[in-house]
């Protein structure tokens, strides 16, 4: 089946990100196709390039990136939710005159239209939230 995940919980604050990541790994292990993870609401913090958790804890940001490169999973971050929470890629940082970049590939800033699209075209869209 073709799956997509909607993640709306902040990393390290709620269980949602950990559960979503485990569900994502289980999907691909079972031979399903995971098209994309869409990050919305506080879930956008999963794309924070500067996250530096203690070394003996799971690194969620790196884990998403690794899942993406191994299984061609798109990591789509709602741009409106991201910008107001300080998550900017190079283009948006330049556009808003900010001297730091907090989001980089494989995470991509995109619109809510992508979420609607995933909900329409995938067999299942599964939500994880606090």
């Amino acid at each position: 089946m073709r799956y997509a995940i909607l993640l709306m919980g902040a990393p390290y604050s709620d269980q949602a990100s950990h559960s979503a990541l485990r569900f994502a790994r289980a999907l691909v292990a079972r031979g399903h196709r995971l098209e994309a993870v869409f990050f919305y609401h506080d879930g956008v913090h999963n794309a924070a390039r500067l996250a530096a958790p203690p070394q003996d804890e799971p690194h969620l940001v790196d884990a998403w990136a690794s899942l993406s490169s191994k299984h061609q999973v798109a990591l789509q971050v709602c741009i409106a939710a991201a910008l107001r929470r300080g998550l900017l890629d190079e283009r948006e940082a330049a556009r808003h005159g900010k001297d730091g970049v907090s989001v980089k590939a494989p995470f991509e800033l995109t619109g809510l239209g992508q979420l609607v699209d995933l909900g329409t075209h995938c067999d299942r869209l599964v939500t994880f939230g606090p």
Binding site: Y40, T120, T127
Partner: protein
């Protein structure tokens, strides 16, 4: 028997009030975008979410824009199916007369039917 998913493409369930968090605003944003993309969208206000519909609301004290203006625009986006959990209203001592828009009140049984009547459900 009713066809599955016959009520609409997307059901957006709103369970939070207007000012305490961004859940309501971000849920409405998702509904508006889906409608702008031509999807048939229904809104279901549940629990505390019914307070979004209380008439004569002001914007939030924290520099928020409030959500009442967005609700007034729903018709422009062809979002006309507005559903309310009847128990959610009565639990808060509200009636349909307190609300700013015409809504359909749903019993628990009707709620279950609405859930299965939509292809996609997003909960905020």
């Amino acid at each position: 028997m009713q066809e599955p998913h016959d009520d609409g493409d997307l059901l957006v369930i709103l369970r939070h009030g207007p000012h305490g968090s961004s859940w309501l605003k971000e849920g409405l944003d998702a509904a508006l975008v889906a409608a702008a993309f031509g999807r048939r969208v229904s809104l279901l206000f549940m629990g505390e979410g019914v307070t979004a519909l209380i008439a004569d609301q002001q914007v939030g004290a924290l520099g928020q824009k409030g959500t009442a203006a967005t609700l007034e625009m729903l018709e422009m986006y062809d979002i006309e199916t507005l559903l309310v959990e009847a128990q959610g209203l009565s639990r808060l001592g509200l009636s349909r007369d307190d609300l700013m828009l015409e809504v359909e009140c749903l019993s628990p049984v009707a709620l279950a039917r609405v859930l299965s009547g939509h292809r996609l459900v997003l909960t905020f």
